[in-house]
Symmetry: C2
Subunit: 323 residues, 2 copies
């Protein structure tokens, strides 16, 4: 009877994980620890009132409360972090206080509470600007954003805690994750702006930025797939599709799904969305694929599902930026 | 007329750097920012009262005070961090609060104060447990201690700030640094204990732990040597001797320099000094050597000078643990 503890469990990826955990394991219970800044009650659907779900409204910065809530659980999933990575341009310490610091507290709470298993949401930002070279897990990492630095700092801390305090952890370096409940991201921004003004759309960079977009259901399946094989020490995996989509193609897709025609695109210039953005990401996910995992949706299919879901949310008045 | 700002400038490495900066550049001025926990006034010798030296007693945790003190300087050297790396066994968040957090504040103070050049004291801990493989700068890094995780987190942050905010930085991954003003380390511990009881010496691990020990003067020469070539973006270098000394050999050396004979060694067992200790470190410093740097002292010579200096300090009652 597994007892899961999901930090950020009402957020984008966390809420999907919670749904899968409860559906896949009939006797599992889940504690959601969330401060509900980007997390939302409606992300949880019917699980909000499930007998198998405990919701703790708390801040990861409150180490004592976090530790108290964590006692007696088997496996912690840690999704809490600053979701708006471009914010660091004007607020450069945000990824320290809403990233690295939170991971430090999650680890210290686990150690104090005696919880031994951790799954961590890392990100492609750990690699930095690698150009057309497909990134593999054991290449040198040189982040160019405070978001990437925070994810790398988190992995380094987790590896050290695993070694020093006999914990077991998995870290997943995600490509761009898309799907229902997204609270940020390029298609999210495009939908919000096109609903206000369908005639013009300003695109940061030159629109040629090209990345992998992986569906949140495929992300959750990767997390569950690797954990089911058992956890020993610290391991880490890239999670990505094998196809890539440009920002310009995403704009076209959003217009198409909104049934908008003739929108005039203007471009910010340069090839980056913001300083610290990595314009091209080529992810090698063979380490994960060699274990047997496959993505069910391509990047284009993932984006289409995500866009349709957000358009639906927008019609119900649920698409808003939380902060 | 260079204006240097040395964070931790009254500490072990910092105080030697200050001495060299003032001696080598007749028109240079130095601001020392130190909270004097492991830093000591006597480390500064005559420079304590130099007209070219400003001493600011402050905490790096006080971002506002740090930024105010930093305004108008050209080049920041950052040495402030937890000096007792084995403390993390019982206080695992010490390297976060006395390491990663301080580097975050140094970078943010630099950005706010408009200072563009940084030299950072990193460490061998970034690599983790690499066994007999000589570590080169661009190999994968998997720290096994919170100290190593903190140094890696610091480097990642620095790289990100350099990219996002047009700074220039050098990071140096030191082997064990020894020399006058040491406040921690294996020979420091041996001297203190043998002065209390010359008959028995307890050695952690099995005494076969074997590492490079580099003299602080050679460390300072490396920092100055690379900076003199100009700084663009973020670069990082290993700094080490090419010879290695075991802990048992250090015990013999300390006994010999203290003129003690017949000490009975007892061993803690295992091959590590503490959980998170890396028993063997083989450092490849060819990246730095290829630029023309050479160490003036071997590991054995560095240790001998360090031990003699600490024995002298002990006789003057200056060898004590600050915390």
């Amino acid at each position: 009877m597994a007892k899961y503890f999901v930090v950020g469990g009402a957020g984008f990826i966390g809420s999907h994980l919670v749904r899968h955990l409860l559906a896949d394991e009939a006797d599992a219970t889940v504690t959601i620890y969330d401060n509900f800044t980007s997390g939302q009650e409606w992300h949880l659907g019917d699980n909000l009132t499930s007998q198998r779900v405990t919701i703790v409204r708390g801040d990861v910065k409150d180490l004592s409360a976090l530790k108290d809530a964590m006692v007696g659980h088997d496996h912690v999933y840690h999704f809490a972090s600053n979701p708006d990575i471009s914010k660091a341009v004007t607020q450069p310490d945000i990824d320290f206080w809403e990233g690295t610091y939170l991971t430090q507290n999650v680890l210290e709470a686990m150690r104090q509470a005696g919880v031994k298993k951790l799954t961590y949401a890392s990100g492609s930002g750990v690699y930095g600007d690698t150009g057309a070279t497909p990134v593999v897990e054991d290449m040198p990492m040189l982040p160019i954003s405070t978001y990437g630095a925070s994810k790398l700092a988190g992995e380094a801390l987790i590896g050290a805690y695993c070694y020093m305090f006999d914990m077991h952890a998995l870290a997943f370096r995600f490509a761009n994750v898309v799907g229902p409940h997204q609270t940020h991201g390029v298609s999210y921004d495009f939908i919000r702006r096109l609903l206000k003004d369908p005639l013009t759309l300003h695109i940061l960079g030159d629109g040629s930025q090209s990345k992998s977009y992986v569906h949140v259901d495929d992300v959750v399946s990767a997390l569950r797939f690797v954990a089911a094989r058992g956890m020993t020490g610290f391991s880490y995996y890239n999670v990505a599709t094998e196809d890539y989509v440009t920002v310009k193609e995403i704009a076209d897709l959003v217009c198409s799904r909104l049934n908008i025609q003739g929108t005039n695109y203007t471009f910010g210039g340069g090839n980056r969305g913001w300083k610290g953005d990595v314009p091209y990401v080529r992810f090698d996910s063979n380490k994960l694929r060699s274990l047997g995992w496959k993505n069910q949706r391509t990047a284009v299919e993932a984006l289409r599902d995500s866009i349709d879901s957000m358009i639906g949310d927008a019609k119900e008045g649920k698409l808003y930026r939380a902060n």
